[in-house]
Every structure is written in structure tokens, then in C-alpha cells.
């Protein structure tokens, strides 16, 4: 198809556009990547991501202009298989895993990806939340058997030294989602970890979190995850990743990461308050996972998928626009409770494109 080239501008929303390009098979050209910056063009982590995408696919052609301010991507097929990738220390492995998670179910062969680098940082989802929350969201679409994220070594910023292994099964098609009942929060889980610092820090974060959460429900289990020696990476750091699950399986999550000069108690409280803020936003899907859910709804079988979520984030708004460019699918977004003026929750619905994994080897 000659009309299959789409053009975008700017470095923002790069990851979702790369993902949509590879899934839809449409070529993309992105220009004006930081043209005004004193250090113009693509960053090292963006180049690294492009190289990673090149390796999980077959036949992908990426052309980057001399200045790095423009790139052209002609996507190949998603091949999967065993891939090892070293992530630069400028971004955590979450930055790289988020787009890969969107692609992996549609591979030719199940993906077995090993990533090394920083496992938890401020900007992207930590490996703990990816493992406990993101993968649970994939299960809503029938992607489950053999889906796993193993945290082999932890690596805090700036030294990194962590290692994770992501295993993803392949599917022929994803199920249509119909998730409009948020339910009530029935349990809270958390993972507290501390590497290369006093291991008591982990317990101090848990104590602080419990001081707020104990009032709500008894089913709270905050786990202190200990990594020692080689497995604890190269830099000191600690964090609390916490999630709340409802009676209908809706999950909300939050986390807080160690900062210089801040006590572990305050990190624990910060994570907990962030979680309450997410719970209060409501809906069936965590805010950080809106785009993943919407993508899988677009790819769902030819039926109407519906999901109740909170108001879209900036990323989600742009994602909805980009989805329309790539797949021609528009979502219907309406108030979930028109009668309740307090509620800002919305129901997102769309007609699935009936995307079939054509890469899958027929066995």
C-alpha cells in the first residue's frame, strides 16, 4: 500500500507510535525530534529502544537522519524468540518493557527477553508493578499461560546492574473486554525492597504504609523482598510498590522510590497516599495502564469492547488520536454515571478490529 506512510512530529509519544506502526504494519516517519534542543535528535535510550524493537522483529528497517532529528520505520514481522538486551542507564528497564509487552503476544515465537539495567526508577513502572499489575491486565484479554516476569537481580539508579527475564506466550487473537464493574477493594498487596542499604528500611516503609491502610481492610500483605550480594545491583536504593485489588479484579497501583535525605517512613507514606489517590479516581483500570487496555480493545475480536476508567491522561488522549490514524478506530467515551455529578468516570467502548496474529507459526 502506497498510502501506508504516516508522518508525526516531535519526540513525544514515540513509544506508542512505534508500537502502533509495528502492529498495523504502517510505515511511519517522525520528524522534528528535538530540533531546538542544544543536544538535538534522538536520545541514547530512544536509539536503544529502536535497536531492541529491531531485534524482536524480523525485516524491520529503521533509518535515522544524520542529525538524529528524523526517523523512518518500515516495520517487519514480530518474531519473538530469545533476545538479550542491555538497557542504557539513562532509563529503567520499564521504559523498554512497556512497548515490548504490547507487541510480544503477537510474535511468531514466544518471547524470552532478558533485559539488564535499572529495575526501579521515578519515571517508568518498576519491574515489581510490571510483574504484578501490568501482566494481570494482559490476563483480561486471555494472555496468561506462561506469562512471567522474573526479577533476577535488582538494580537501583544510577549504577543499575539489575536483570529481568520476560516470558510471553503468543495468542491468535485477544478476547473482547467487557469490564464496567469496578467493585470494592478487597485486598492490598505490596512489595518493599531495599538494596545496598540497611535491610530494616524495607520494614520501616511497610510499617508506615500500614499506619494508614490498617483502618480500611484486614487483608493487607506487604512483602519485604530481600536481595543480597550480586543480586542487589550496583547502587543503593529502596522502594515500596503497592497495589489494591477489587472484588471484580480491578487493580490500582502506586509506588514511591528512595530519595536522598528522605526517611523510609516518608517513602512508605508517599506510596500509600499515591495509592489512595488512585483508588479514589476509581474505574476498572489503573491510570498507568489506560493505553495498554485501549490498545488490546482495538485489537480485540469484532465485537464491542467496553471498559470503565477514570478521565484520560494526556498520553491516553494522544494515544486515542494515534489509534485512529493507524487503525481507523474511534472510541466512544461517555460518562459512566450521568446521574451522579460527582463522578468523573467514563466508559470507553470501541468495535474491535479483529486483529489476528498472522506471524504465529501454524502448528
Amino acid at each position: 500500500m502506497s498510502s501506508s506512510l504516516l508522518t508525526f512530529s516531535g519526540h513525544q509519544y514515540l513509544r506508542q507510535r512505534l508500537v502502533l506502526s509495528i502492529l498495523s504494519g504502517k510505515h511511519i516517519r517522525i520528524d522534528k525530534i528535538r530540533p531546538e534542543d542544544k543536544n538535538p535528535g534522538l536520545r541514547d535510550y530512544e536509539i536503544s529502544l529502536l535497536r531492541l524493537l529491531e531485534r524482536v522483529t524480523n525485516g524491520t528497517i529503521i533509518e535515522i537522519s544524520v542529525t538524529g532529528t528524523a526517523l523512518l520505520l518500515r516495520p517487519g514481522v514480530i518474531s519473538g524468540g530469545t533476545v538479550v538486551h542491555e538497557c542504557p542507564l539513562t532509563r529503567s528497564v520499564g521504559y523498554f518493557l512497556e512497548p515490548v509487552i504490547m507487541l510480544a503476544p503477537f510474535s511468531k515465537k514466544p518471547l524470552n527477553l532478558t533485559l539488564t539495567g535499572i529495575t526501579t526508577d521515578e519515571n517508568d513502572l518498576s519491574v515489581d508493578l510490571l510483574r504484578t499489575v501490568t501482566l494481570s491486565h494482559l490476563q483480561l484479554f486471555g494472555i496468561s499461560d506462561g506469562l512471567e516476569l522474573r526479577i533476577k537481580k535488582r538494580g537501583a539508579a544510577p549504577g543499575g546492574g539489575g536483570e529481568v527475564q520476560f516470558l510471553c506466550p503468543i495468542v491468535k487473537q485477544v478476547k473482547t473486554l467487557n469490564f464496567v464493574e469496578p467493585g470494592k477493594i478487597k485486598r492490598i498487596r505490596g512489595i518493599s525492597h531495599a538494596v545496598r542499604v540497611n535491610p530494616q528500611f524495607s520494614n520501616r516503609m511497610i510499617e508506615a504504609a500500614r499506619s494508614i491502610l490498617n483502618r480500611y481492610i484486614p487483608d493487607i500483605y506487604l512483602y519485604s523482598d530481600v536481595y543480597k550480594g550480586e543480586e542487589s545491583g550496583k547502587s543503593p536504593g529502596y522502594a515500596l510498590s503497592i497495589l489494591a485489588e477489587s472484588t471484580t479484579g480491578a487493580i490500582h497501583c502506586a509506588e514511591a522510590i528512595s530519595q536522598a535525605g528522605v526517611a523510609p517512613e516518608d517513602i512508605g507514606l508517599k506510596a500509600t497516599r499515591a495509592l489512595l489517590s488512585e483508588i479514589n479516581r476509581g474505574g476498572c483500570v489503573d491510570r498507568r495502564h489506560q493505553t495498554l487496555i485501549l490498545l488490546m480493545m482495538v485489537l480485540g475480536s469484532e465485537d464491542v469492547g467496553r471498559c470503565r476508567m477514570s478521565e484520560p491522561t494526556a498520553k491516553t488522549i494522544q494515544f486515542l488520536r494515534d489509534v485512529q490514524s493507524f487503525f481507523g478506530t474511534s472510541f466512544k467515551v461517555v460518562q459512566a454515571d450521568p446521574s451522579d455529578p460527582e463522578s468523573s468516570q467514563l466508559v470507553y467502548s470501541c468495535y474491535g478490529t479483529g486483529y489476528v496474529n498472522a506471524n504465529r507459526t501454524l502448528a
Binding site: 514515540l14 531546538e36 513502572l125
Partner: protein, 95 residues
């Protein structure tokens, strides 16, 4: 009465129209004043936006959304903590 009507309107955004049939950037949709600002404010707003477009601060493509200022601090309030009890299974009020 007009003020009330417009505040009602801003609360109930027409998301479909904003997302698919407007030239506003996602940030403008979420944070921009659309209805009840007067002309001058709109001008100011756009000037600032243009300046920040070329500013040095890099907007990272992040997996985690940052919290607005004060969004976490407000949870120190005991009343607010009590107010969301209904969202948990132990809460009495079926909200």
C-alpha cells in the same frame, strides 16, 4: 446562572469531541481553560505555551504520570481518609 451553567459544562467535558474533533493538544484539553476565561487570559496562555515549547526542559515519555502538586499531601487529612471507606468491602455505604 450562566457561571453555574458553564462550570457544569466544564465538569462534563465532551470527550469525544475534544479528542477527535479539536486541535487542542492533550495538555490543553486537560489543563487549559476552554470556556470561562476571557480573551486576555487565553492570549497569555498561548504565549506561555509557545515559550515552553522551545524551553530547555524536556518532557519525558514516561510510564508513570506525575502527581499534581498537593495531590498526595491532601491525604494527610483524616476526613478525606474516612471519606473513601465506601470504596472498600468493609465500608458500610454502598456507593
Amino acid at each position: 446562572a450562566q457561571a453555574l451553567a458553564s462550570s457544569q459544562e466544564s465538569k462534563r467535558k465532551n470527550w469525544i469531541k475534544l479528542i477527535y474533533n479539536s486541535d487542542l493538544t492533550p495538555e490543553e484539553i486537560l489543563h487549559g481553560e476552554t470556556k470561562d476565561t476571557d480573551e486576555e487570559d487565553v492570549d497569555d496562555f498561548f504565549t506561555i505555551k509557545r515559550k515552553s515549547d522551545v524551553s530547555e526542559t524536556e518532557v519525558l515519555d514516561m510510564g508513570k504520570e506525575a502527581y499534581e502538586e498537593g495531590e498526595l499531601e491532601k491525604w494527610e487529612d483524616e476526613e478525606l481518609l474516612e471519606s473513601i471507606r465506601g470504596l472498600f468491602i468493609t465500608g458500610q455505604d454502598a456507593g
